[in-house]
Symmetry: C2
Subunit: 333 residues, 2 copies
Amino acid sequence: MKPIALDAMGGDHMPAAAVEGAVAAAREGIPVVLVGDEDVLEAELAKHGEKLPIHPAEDVIAMEDSAVDVRRRRQSSVMVAMRLVKEGEASACISMGHSGATMAAALLVLGRLRGVERPAILANIPIVGGYAALIDVGANAENRAIHLQQFAVMGSLYAEAFYQKEAPTVGLMSIGEEPQKGTDLTREAHELLKGTPGINFFGNVEGRDLFMGTTDVVVTDGFTGNVMLKLAEGEARVLFGMIRTALSSSLPVRLAALVVRPALRKIRDRFDPAEYGAQPLLGVDGYVLIGHGRSDGRSVQSAIRTARRAVEAELLGKIRGGLGLLGERVSAS
Amino acid sequence: MKPIALDAMGGDHMPAAAVEGAVAAAREGIPVVLVGDEDVLEAELAKHGEKLPIHPAEDVIAMEDSAVDVRRRRQSSVMVAMRLVKEGEASACISMGHSGATMAAALLVLGRLRGVERPAILANIPIVGGYAALIDVGANAENRAIHLQQFAVMGSLYAEAFYQKEAPTVGLMSIGEEPQKGTDLTREAHELLKGTPGINFFGNVEGRDLFMGTTDVVVTDGFTGNVMLKLAEGEARVLFGMIRTALSSSLPVRLAALVVRPALRKIRDRFDPAEYGAQPLLGVDGYVLIGHGRSDGRSVQSAIRTARRAVEAELLGKIRGGLGLLGERVSAS
């Protein structure tokens, strides 16, 4: 496998977290190339007593920069990492930096897959005994029904590869189970999804179904999906904060809390976005993963593992095939 | 105060839960009139050894009926309860039955307040140290910016009366803090809200801000709000289910769990929709509260308390005044 290109400069805790995660991944045998400032990265690697390949990039897109800056800042770490994928030098690109810039760089350098009008970001949502896939969580602000159809195909193939599910079920996020409930968008998407070859369409689902794991995949527009993902993160954070406070309320409770805390921490970690590592950007012609700005070494390592899994599962080829099934309808649109 | 009319027939656990809640509320001095089948209600009251006023209604709209059935089924309990409000015999109407039917009955019998194009349902969201108001959580499927402006005014006056906040802050749900982020609807609503008299507009907020209590009120369209509310309910339920499982994992953990459980239960209860009692339908010309179908006696009692608080705070008069401030713009639209 070609190495995974890691934008080692973009993100809150970079390059320290990138190097830490890359070293850990390399030690378990996953090839990684760090993209960024050579001197800085070598100094950081020295702390770990490791040598890893570095591909130099002079520039870095900061969180406060504009996403469109990638057009003229071609030596930025995210653009350089993306070109390594395009040129076949790397198998995947991961960035924990400015996510708008990562999307813009992916579109600019790799382009869209044939049959995809709008790439989408997929999030793994923790459910009892596994994960459910929510797509799109914010690559788009507004979508048409045909986009949702493409999300459904891509999400379904992702769930098949990552959740080891045969014919994963696909739900359409709405505000009632009946097909006619919801908005013009959901009604039109419902009709389209019903007739989409290669997916196992369950029908409409509601907000509560996501965490209940009613379906393996939940399809929605980028606005709704982004609100949902951030709401879910915020609720978990606030709820665990309340639990932390409650568990220090009195001495007996504090003592008992010592015993139960490891079990609670495991659940909290499952709800921590850092745990998922990074979210795949589906629909571009290459493997791209977008991580949280506040990623630490552990999340970088788990993003690298996710990238390897995607590459080894040949997800891209499968998505190409799935989109091919949509056939004329999509290419004509 | 005129009694609060309680639709004692609609809902999963009715009339038992309605009678239990009404009896508890009456014992704390809140006047209630039960609306429904006289014989059934008298028998139920006898179990509590209590006498409460009953207003007869022969019919009841079932959960599987259509909301528009209220037009021809004028003897249904929700329609009869609504007429008691219209005729000044009751100060408020509460129903735990078919929520679409309750909304339809409210519009049909009470009508909209002047200056309101679309009534909206407000939900109290548990945050650290209090609640935040989310509006609309599903009275509408699609909204225009001017509706969101009316929601902002009503939500703001609600928060002032119920959360004892002066000049409560109002956030607009979007997918980025910058005014230009989001959809055509959020951009247009942002502009409108900026210039709305009588509200303390904070700007755009994101999904995570709701539970973090960034603003006292969060305004969104009925589709997004309904997805958010149900997602939040589902996440809390799944998370507490995982905690329950984790706390029975081994004998030492089970023993320690006995000590911490009361503290955890308090938090779980705060996240339980039944705890809020019922959600006000704002924008109709009367006090109407819509409860969860699965409400129990405790939630009925707390709904009755909420209704009394709304009546005593003269919320309706305040909303009329606030909408009046919107002035020409609204009446011209």
